[in-house]
Symmetry: C2
Subunit: 358 residues, 2 copies
């Protein structure tokens, strides 16, 4: 089984700050645990994390390698677990691009030494600061030398959707290094990011969690397709994490229809958008929509847009809405299990996963 979304957090702030460029270290230390990143307007009313993932000692859940091993890797016989930054994804949304870049670099070095060195089953996506695309591209090339980094992580929250030409250096570097773009919801509406949802900032966490994240993922998906990103960089792949999937048929039907009617708006898009998705885009399962007895309908909907091939499993450990792999195994159609739990991720991330049977 491959888990495409395990979150890690900083446990020892002093240790982490030691990874930051010395010229900027004092500033970050002075910010405390928030490290100067933009704050969240919305937080879960009862806490972001699984209660049983709290390692105690005032540490953040997800900050203990032993807990990740015990609660994910060992329990579920995980062949490869991909670590994604939790809060430091917000480096892209800091007004000061140099702070953002320093924080991203520090996180990449820290996760490599403190996590990847600790368990051979672990891999990670790299954090980059998207507000300075040239610097982000340089960071991608630097970090890609460590072949345990398997993707370029970008937050759902953004100033503009990722198909925009300003982000081309990031796409180009990812493509050059054979790394997929990994767009994970988060930061939507925070810091530099546009308000989430598209009708102005919502009021509640429940709205933000229902829609803020889904709409930003939809928008990046449609943007990358409409800018022809996957034709511009043949072989480039994208993985969207935690934006949901049940909206996908509706949005793809609409985009396919519009592409037929509006091709002169984007003449460089030469293929039906839904074909591009089948070939180049993947979606993580968590949080797979609960359907109140309509799971058969959900599988039909997803099959209409390319499932099971477009889906990869993710648990979102240690967050409150963690999807248990053993529950997911039972829920998925039997014929989809191997593809969703293992094969599709192995194919997406390729040799960097280091799995024999890729």
């Amino acid at each position: 089984m491959i888990d495409c979304d395990i979150h890690v957090n900083i446990g020892d702030l002093d240790e982490f700050v030691g990874y930051i460029d010395p010229a900027q270290r004092d500033w970050f230390r002075a910010q405390g645990p928030g490290l100067g990143m933009p704050g969240y307007d919305f937080t879960h009313p009862g806490g972001w994390f699984r209660a049983d993932a709290d390692p105690g000692r005032h540490l953040l859940p997800g900050s203990s390698l032993e807990a990740v091993q015990a609660q994910v890797l060992d329990t579920y016989d995980v062949a490869a677990g991909i670590l994604n930054s939790d809060d430091t994804i917000l480096a892209s949304l800091m007004c000061n691009p140099y702070r953002g870049a320093a924080l991203a670099s520090a996180w990449n070095d820290w996760v490599s030494e403190r996590w990847l060195d600790g368990d051979a089953r672990l891999r990670a996506t790299m954090v980059v600061a998207a507000q300075d695309p040239l610097a982000a591209a340089a960071e991608i090339r630097r970090v890609a030398a460590d072949d345990r980094f398997v993707g370029v992580l970008l937050p759902g929250g953004s100033e503009r959707p990722y198909g925009e030409p300003r982000y081309l250096p990031i796409l180009q570097a990812a493509h050059e290094c054979g790394l997929p773009l990994v767009v994970h919801t988060g930061g939507d509406g925070m810091g530099l990011a546009a308000p989430s949802g598209g009708a102005g900032k919502p009021s509640f966490y429940i709205e933000w969690h229902t829609l803020g994240s889904a709409c930003s993922v939809m928008s990046h998906l449609v943007s990358l397709i409409c800018h022809g990103s996957f034709d511009r960089f043949p072989g480039l792949r994208a993985l969207f994490i935690e934006g949901g999937v049940a909206w996908l048929p509706g949005i793809m039907w609409r985009l396919d229809t519009n592409w037929r009617g509006l091709r002169d708006d984007v003449p460089w898009v030469r293929r039906l958008p839904s074909e591009v998705v089948r070939e180049s885009v993947r979606f993580s399962t968590q949080p797979l929509e609960h359907t109140d007895g309509h799971d058969e309908l959900l599988w039909e909907m997803l099959a209409a847009v390319g499932a099971p091939e477009i889906l990869v499993f993710s648990s979102d450990y240690p967050h409150w809405d963690f999807d248990d792999p053993s529950f997911m195994l039972k829920r998925l159609p039997a014929a989809w299990r191997e593809a969703v739990m293992h094969r599709n991720a192995a194919e997406l991330f390729g040799a960097r996963l280091g799995l024999v049977h890729v």
Copy 2:
């Protein structure tokens, strides 16, 4: 048949300006045809309108009563056609709230005299300037005295989603007058409105048409539910026009799931969100997603969230993506036709439609 979305445009600017408050009339006249409203960042590459709806003589399509009669009312044997403002919906997004209010009032008086007086089959929604909710509420009470106005029109583009308490005076006035809220996509990302889509302004009309409008409708829907608007004003109804419908099951599954997990974020929401939708919310059909051979799946998806009862027919005349009622009749499941083409709208708008068999 009831058509819930026929757009009318201003043909004779001088005549229209005559309906504006004399103290503001000169300013509006000086702005020319745009009437000082925010401009659109995205326009259809080949034009907004059906080519055959152009009345010539440099008039805008939708500005001729005769054309609306010939191309919609007579051709399709329309029992009631509901006129919605086209551009003046942007009154809500003008930085100057007094200009917005003056423009809205003028439009309401103009549509009453120049359109509703001209054909007994016509009804209209009223334009209000949402950036000044108290003034908008006063306008609702003023215009509602003319019982040919059947709803309160708000644009998809907004500063904040419409469940926000600042908009309570609008909801209260609509409720008091027995009028549904009619949220029509448009203005998303323009003027005062937040960027559409939730990941920053998109680049192309095709993105905006695919997602900008869908995301704002989703956000207003989720906002109204999460603020408990339909419980606060029992009997209040909302109609969402032109945001699509195929995303609805995915978003409602996600919202229902989140409501179960996050009720302490919105403790006043006492019913499952999807139940609230079935009871109080309706969606217009146009542009009903084309599914590349998956129409049976689409009907199943819509049935899972309450179709056919939640759907009302709209043509969107005279726009380029007009849905032909005779085509829609053939496409819809036979058992849904009467409900979608007539009954649901008759029930939603009630006595103000003036139809005998309501």
